[in-house]
């Protein structure tokens, strides 16, 4: 098995606050890996460090053995990492299909001169891009909604469109940030199956931040738990469920709902 992503004592500080504290993770290619932890545990900051939005103070991020530290977000995307957002961030005033085409940006080559002159290369590429966007719409189950403005889509469709957009850049690693936030249990289950399909059909490694424990326990192969920026536990779902430190972290932070309580959280 190859290692898709590895972080070595990754640390990110904001002033005096250490948001990510020497986190070591190893994510195998083709796995579904979850990062959980109470609110403010540094999960999203961890994502931002991987995707190049933050530059870590120290530590290393290796993607297929190549360092990502210091790369800009677009370079990271080019290398094959793509992400979604906790609060959906689509390009609201663009149509669904255009959103996906933007996602394909890093895989397209046409520059401004091509665009003005409509070179054959550009036309061919554009045709293929639109075709691929349609396939992705199809894949996420949004056929017929392609010409709708993203902001007019129903909530669930927006979630799936966001994933389709992330897939458009042909990632090898997909970072999902609470993909089931705001969904009812039925929708959550659908999403769970969908995530698994991503891995199985497209062979994409998946890194997941999630609060819904049923989802986490249901699909993750490995789970890491962050608390106050530091990794306090790592293991299979079963191991995590029994880990006293994890329970304490959650209880301590007031999220006493417990690890087995799967009640939907407010978005």
């Amino acid at each position: 098995m190859t290692i898709a992503l590895e972080t070595r004592s990754l640390t990110k500080q904001f002033g005096g606050l250490t948001a990510v504290d020497s986190v070591d993770l190893v994510i195998q290619e083709g796995s579904i890996f979850s990062v959980i932890g109470p609110n403010g545990a540094g999960k999203t900051t961890f994502y931002n460090c991987i995707t190049g939005f933050y530059e870590p103070e120290s530590g290393e991020v290796l993607f297929y053995d190549k360092s990502l530290v210091g790369l800009t977000p677009d370079q990271v995307t080019y290398r094959g990492i793509s992400r979604t957002y906790q609060n959906i961030r689509l390009f609201a005033n663009m149509s669904a299909i255009e959103n996906i085409l933007v996602g394909e940006h890093s895989r397209l080559r046409a520059n401004w001169a091509d665009a003005i002159l409509h070179t054959p290369r550009m036309k061919k590429e554009e045709k293929a891009a639109v075709e691929k966007a349609r396939q992705l719409l199809n894949f996420v189950g949004l056929v017929g909604l392609g010409d709708q403005l993203a902001r007019n889509l129903p909530y669930g469709a927006q979630r799936r469109l966001e994933i389709a957009r992330a897939l458009a850049s042909q990632p090898r690693l997909l970072l999902l940030d609470e993909p089931t936030a705001g969904m009812n249990p039925h929708e959550s289950v659908d999403m769970m199956h969908f995530i698994r399909r991503l891995r199985d059909e497209l062979g994409i490694t998946i890194l997941l931040i999630e609060h819904d424990m049923r989802v986490v326990m249901g699909i993750s192969e490995q789970i890491a738990v962050l608390d106050y920026g530091a990794k306090i536990a790592e293991g299979t779902p079963a191991e995590i469920q029994g880990n006293p430190r994890v329970i304490e972290a959650y209880l301590g932070s007031g999220a006493a709902s417990g690890l087995n309580n799967t009640a939907a959280r407010p978005a």
């Binding site: 931002n48 933050y54 530059e55 870590p56 103070e57 530290v69 210091g70 800009t72």
Partner: protein, 366 residues
């Protein structure tokens, strides 16, 4: 934006540009400072004192106007382009008060031409400020109600255009109402422009004008008052809450529209006071008097960090000083003082993208 401490492996080109620019500019500045102070002193200390007096006084007026921009920006995230014209309205308010009081004779034994405003300068000035501020505040209130409130949910450039339209309207209304001539403020005798304390500096007499000191003192008082208002009162808390998040503020039972109205009233009143000061210190009022100070104050607000009240104060003062000292220190003709001011603005923003004391916008917040 990446934080300051970067790992040694990759350094972004931007940072190199930043550093090079910074070193070049600092070097140039040091060299110029050396030249003008030690190498080839161009000015005596009396001239420097004059520059500083001029800069500080002008800066304090800029600061006062800039606060109006910043308050509105902080809450609505819009540039109130008509703010300078509100200042013009305030200046006219004060002008008419002085004209009226000048018309009331109060002859004394020594001077038969003594008028009410000469006899009671404190009352006259106070009245001018009250009337000027109130009229400007009222204009601010109606401006918001008519031109901005209906656009609350619109894309953010739309209120800007509306503000530009309002600005054009106000300028031309001022021209048509009051005529095109430039009018002189009839100050009370004691505040005659150009009179002041004579300070012996460097073998020459430097005049510290009374009007300038009045301007400075009043603007400092107003700024302190405003700071207390924003930080200590219920209204100030509500304003900050609305600035932070309008939806949440509304949920907390804050009357968002009311707070916005009041913000416009406050910023209008400050602009009006600035207008009266402008009149008293510089003596000039006409329909276009607010345009340039408006642009300058907007620059000052951004320089300080738009949205931040202390930033606006600092920015205003800084801009005033740059305008008077900049050409002198850099040895460039005064015609290019705005070029220097804008170049400094660019430099400041390159190093501090959100102004001198601006809020640090994180990726997520933007």
């Amino acid at each position: 934006m990446p934080s300051a401490k970067a790992p040694a492996r990759r350094v972004s080109t931007y940072k190199i540009v930043q550093t090079v620019l910074g070193i070049l500019f600092a070097g140039y500045l040091l060299w110029r400072l050396y030249v003008v102070f030690i190498g080839n002193p161009a000015y005596g200390s009396d001239t420097w004192a004059r520059f500083i007096i001029s800069g500080v006084i002008l800066g304090s007026v800029y600061a006062l106007i800039a606060i109006g921009y910043t308050l509105v920006y902080g809450i609505l995230r819009m540039i109130n382009f008509a703010h300078g014209d509100i200042m013009m309205i305030g200046a006219f308010g004060g002008y008419f008060v002085f004209e009226a009081l000048k018309a009331i004779p109060a002859p004394t034994l020594t001077d038969p031409k003594f008028t009410f405003s000469d006899a009671h300068p404190i009352i006259a000035v106070l009245l001018a400020f009250i009337v000027g501020s109130s009229i400007a505040a009222l204009s601010g209130f109606f401006l918001e109600k008519i031109a901005y409130r209906p656009l609350r949910g619109a894309p953010r450039l739309v209120p800007l255009i509306s503000a530009i339209g309002a600005s054009i309207f106000l300028e031309n209304a001022g021209q048509l109402l009051f005529g095109t001539q430039r009018r002189d403020y009839a100050n009370p005798l004691i505040l005659t422009r150009g009179d002041g304390w004579n300070l012996p500096i460097g073998g020459a007499t430097v005049i510290l004008p009374y009007t300038g000191v009045l301007t400075l003192v009043v603007s400092i008082l107003l700024m302190v008052g405003l700071y207390l208002l924003v930080m200590r009162t219920r209204l100030g808390r509500s304003m900050r809450a609305v600035a932070e998040n309008k939806q949440v503020a509304a949920l907390m039972g804050i009357d968002v529209d009311g707070i916005i109205s009041r913000t416009f009233i406050i910023s209008g009143a400050l602009a009006g006071a600035a207008g009266v000061m402008w009149g008293i210190h510089l003596g000039l009022v006409y329909y276009y008097v607010g345009f340039l100070p408006g642009i300058k104050a907007f620059t000052a607000a951004v320089l300080g960090g738009i949205g931040s009240v202390p930033g606006a104060m600092l920015g205003g003062l800084f801009l005033g000083l740059v305008e008077s000292l900049g050409p002198a220190i850099l040895g460039i003709s005064f015609q290019l003082k705005d070029v220097i001011a804008f170049a400094i603005l660019v430099l400041v923003l390159i190093f501090r993208p959100t102004g001198i004391v601006g809020e640090v916008l994180t990726e997520e917040k933007v």
